[in-house]
């Protein structure tokens, strides 16, 4: 099986990965405008080179504890349904290759979440691979 290229990032202490095909760019956090009456997981909108881009608070969706944003916080611009969406993450670690044999199905660990494609174990790191479509469906429920 071919290797998968993923972008690994941290939310709090946990590490997540997103298929690099989905990732458009990684941006520093600039001014985000709050959007009134929008769903809670939407942090606001940002000016991404002249394009208004919604920014999504991943921590809100995954109901993690809010950690104060540090200077390493980034926005991961990903392509979803031909739109650009920005995901706030605490820190981007690296782009890495993940072999198919390093990925275990989430169900085998009793962590059965639809929005996970699998869990990669690389050395001592445990990276949860996100499924963007399922994640957004999950967010909207």
């Amino acid at each position: 099986m071919e290797n998968k290229k993923i972008v690994a990032f941290k939310l709090g202490e946990e590490e997540f990965g997103l298929d690099i095909d989905h990732v458009h760019s990684i941006e520093r956090i600039s001014q985000i405008t709050r959007v009134p009456n929008a769903p809670a997981y939407i942090k606001g909108v940002m000016n991404l080179r002249g394009q208004i881009t919604p920014i999504i608070d991943l921590q809100n969706i995954l109901s993690k504890n809010q950690v104060a944003k540090t200077g390493r916080a980034r926005i991961l611009i990903a392509n979803y349904n031909e739109m650009n969406l920005g995901f706030m993450v605490d820190q981007t670690s690296d782009v890495m290759d993940v072999g198919q044999d390093e990925i275990v199905s989430p169900s085998s660990n009793g962590l059965n979440f639809d929005y996970l494609n699998g869990i990669a174990q690389i050395g001592s790191r445990i990276i949860m691979l996100l499924n963007l479509d399922e994640l957004m469906k999950f967010a909207n429920n």
Binding site: Q31, T33, V35, P36, I42, V45, N47, I52, P54
Partner: protein, 666 residues
């Protein structure tokens, strides 16, 4: 050559010609004896036939060919115009339209044309075979010798000494050939490969401007045999015939004599071709077709520029360096002009939408058995392309509504002493920054009682309320959903979904619709539309730390209010403005703006906005000033947010949201 490159051109031109045919047919119906209309129709039909033939749409070509034959007979008065023939031709046009639509949708343009072709053939007198004018023309044109200029002879004589042959070549293009100059250039390119061209008639320039009939003649020097040249040139598609005469033996003296003879006998193209070139000339104003996407791209880039301009203005104000301020001011002027041009480029005359109405009204009037005259005024009024694309359906609704409900039947009209023929007026005009479109009829007007009864029945208003409503308010009830006052539901309108849809559509375009009516005299629907949707003036306001934009178009005035001027009426905070009571909307609460301190300031700024005749005062923290902003969509992900219609990027790169004040009112 790849035909796909030309298919868009084919579709657009076919549509233009179909429009011409439709227009002229309607005129012809009124004045059947006027031959110029038939000529116009004939020409357009002929062009469509030619194009369809060369693009390989055989069914379309066959149909237009038969239609052309009938038209030709009409033109020569060998056939008289009867309503039956008119109907057949209208049917033809409908079928052609369908085929062109099919081609546009990527289909083959195939359709069963047997029936209609049979009808057309039947309409023709079988004894009269259509004359092939063009074929006759070709033969006339071919036999002419080209004059040779004196200064060419030196070259020719030199070449003859070298044993090179000298030919006169006449190239006849297929009569259906659409882009003759392209073919001509392909031929000329080959000629250059085969030898040297001395001169050509008509001139290269005329060919470039497509001012050629279907043939042209050139003189060339070549080492090839006449037969070889002929074979090679015939390989160019749509070249019908090549006539080569070997002039190697000719000499200068003889030739110049021939020139004189030629000069006295100018080539006479048949009247029909000269007409055709005349129409071509008329339509060839200096313009180019540009993909709307490219214009959108230009617009987007320009809006980026406006944002930077705003930023520069801010910097200039802060630093107060004269040089910088002057440069920025100059840039502002230039970009304002540029903006005018760019917006103008996107403007299209409403004619594009209005064009299809005469035909629609005619058909509907026939179905309803009413006599109706449609008057169109101000079709040249221009609107932004994006608005044009959206305005068609609402107008169809209004026209259908006027035809069906507004105008009375012929008997009723006569009974009430009105002229038998109903009048329907469609008028467009500019006023300020807005475009108005008016649909007026001289029918029975809106029946106040009937509307009210219906409204009470549908529980839109209570009986008590109904008494107090003004006429305007009663008419406005027509726009509430699920409302149809027609007793009978007909095909044409009155499924109860009409007018509220119209209203929603117009409002989504940033427009307003109103009704005026007087019983027995008719009704008028007035639509007010913004000229463009992409750039607008806004007032920037602040709520705590957040900046929002309120479009100027809805703002009536801005005022200051001290806390003690706010009165509570039925749990609603209101203010008084010159004797008028205006409800207040606390924008901070509506938008859930996080507030730091709860102490309410003594003075508040109130932005008074209007929708129709309703007004509300929007309470804001402070006013930042006015700015020209570029409307940007929030994208598919964030739609239907309450009171937010879009977003814009401010000079400092921040995103500000645009307030939809209409939603705050209702």
């Amino acid at each position: 050559m790849d035909l796909n490159n030309y298919i868009t051109m084919f579709i657009e031109e076919s549509k233009e010609h179909l429009q011409t045919i439709n227009d002229e047919l309607l005129k012809l119906e009124i004045e059947p004896e006027n031959i110029t209309y038939i000529n116009e129709i004939f020409r357009s039909a002929h062009t469509i036939k030619g194009m369809a033939g060369s693009m390989g749409f055989d069914d379309l070509a066959t149909l237009t060919h038969q239609m052309e034959n009938v038209l030709d007979l009409l033109r020569q008065s060998k056939l008289t115009i009867t309503p039956e023939i008119m109907d057949i031709i209208f049917q033809c046009v409908d079928i052609i339209e369908k085929m062109v639509d099919d081609i546009e949708a990527g289909g083959t343009g195939k359709a069963d044309v047997k029936d209609i072709v049979a009808k057309l053939t039947h309409a023709q007198n079988p004894d009269q075979s259509p004359p092939s004018v063009l074929a006759a023309l070709n033969e006339v044109a071919v036999a002419i010798d080209m004059p040779i200029e004196d200064y060419h002879w030196s070259v020719i004589n030199e070449a003859k000494k070298m044993g090179t042959n000298f030919y006169q070549v006449t190239v006849v293009l297929d009569e259906n050939c659409v882009m003759k100059f392209v073919r001509a250039f392909m031929v000329l390119q080959l000629v250059e490969e085969l030898g040297e061209m001395i001169s050509i008639q008509p001139s290269i320039q005329e060919i470039e401007e497509d001012k050629i009939d279907n043939h042209f003649t050139l003189l060339m020097l070549s080492n090839f045999e006449a037969k070889d040249i002929e074979d090679k040139l015939l390989n160019v598609s749509e070249v019908k015939e090549i006539i080569i005469s070997d002039k190697t033996k000719d000499n200068q003296a003889e030739k110049s004599e021939t020139v004189k003879v030629e000069a006295e006998v100018p080539v006479k193209p048949s009247p029909e071709t000269s007409d055709a070139t005349a129409t071509q000339k008329r339509s060839r104003t200096k313009s180019i077709r540009v993909d709307i996407d490219k214009l959108d791209g230009l617009m987007n880039l320009f809006s980026e520029l406006i944002i930077d301009r705003g930023r520069l203005e801010q910097i200039a104000r802060k630093t107060s360096a004269t040089d910088l301020t002057e440069t920025v001011e100059h840039m502002t002027r230039i970009s304002t002009d540029l903006q005018g041009i760019i917006l103008n480029m996107r403007m299209v005359p409403v004619e594009q939408v209005f064009n299809r109405f005469p035909r629609m009204v005619r058909d509907l009037a026939k179905d309803l058995n009413k006599k109706i005259q449609l008057i169109i005024e101000g079709a040249e009024t221009e609107l932004d392309r994006t608005v044009i694309d959206e305005i068609g359906d609402p107008l169809v609704h209004l026209l259908r509504n006027a035809l069906d409900h507004g105008l009375e039947s012929t008997e009723d009209r006569l009974a009430s002493g009105k002229p038998e023929e109903g009048k329907l007026l469609l008028r467009a005009y500019h006023s300020g920054n807005h475009v108005f479109i008016e649909v007026a009829d001289d029918g029975k007007g809106i029946n106040r009682e009937k509307v009210l009864n219906k409204a009470i029945e549908r529980e839109v208003v209570s009986k008590d309320e109904a008494e107090t409503l003004t006429d305007q308010e009663v008419y406005a009830l027509l726009f509430s959903s699920g409302f149809s006052t027609a007793d009978k539901i007909s095909d044409i309108s009155g499924r109860g979904v009409g007018l509220d849809v119209v209203k929603t559509k117009i409002e989504s375009l940033g427009g307003v619709i109103s009704i005026d009516s007087s019983p027995g005299k008719g009704s008028t629907f007035l639509i007010q539309l913004p000229m463009t949707l992409s750039i607008m003036y806004c007032m920037l306001i602040k709520l705590e730390e957040e900046t929002y934009a309120i479009p100027f178009s809805s703002i009536v005035e801005i005022t200051k209010l001290s806390q003690d001027q706010v009165v509570l009426i039925q749990n609603q905070k209101v203010m008084q403005l010159r004797g008028q009571i205006i409800p207040l909307v606390y924008l901070k609460e509506v938008l859930n703006v996080p507030t730091k301190e709860s102490n309410i300031e003594q003075h508040q700024f109130i932005v008074i906005v209007r929708k129709g005749d309703k007004m509300v005062g929007i309470v804001v923290d402070s006013i930042l000033g006015q700015q020209e902003i570029v409307l940007k969509s929030l994208g598919g992900f964030l739609n239907n947010l309450f009171a937010i219609s879009g977003a814009t990027i401010l000079g400092n790169g921040e995103v500000a949201l645009i307030i939809d004040s209409n939603q705050l009112i209702s």
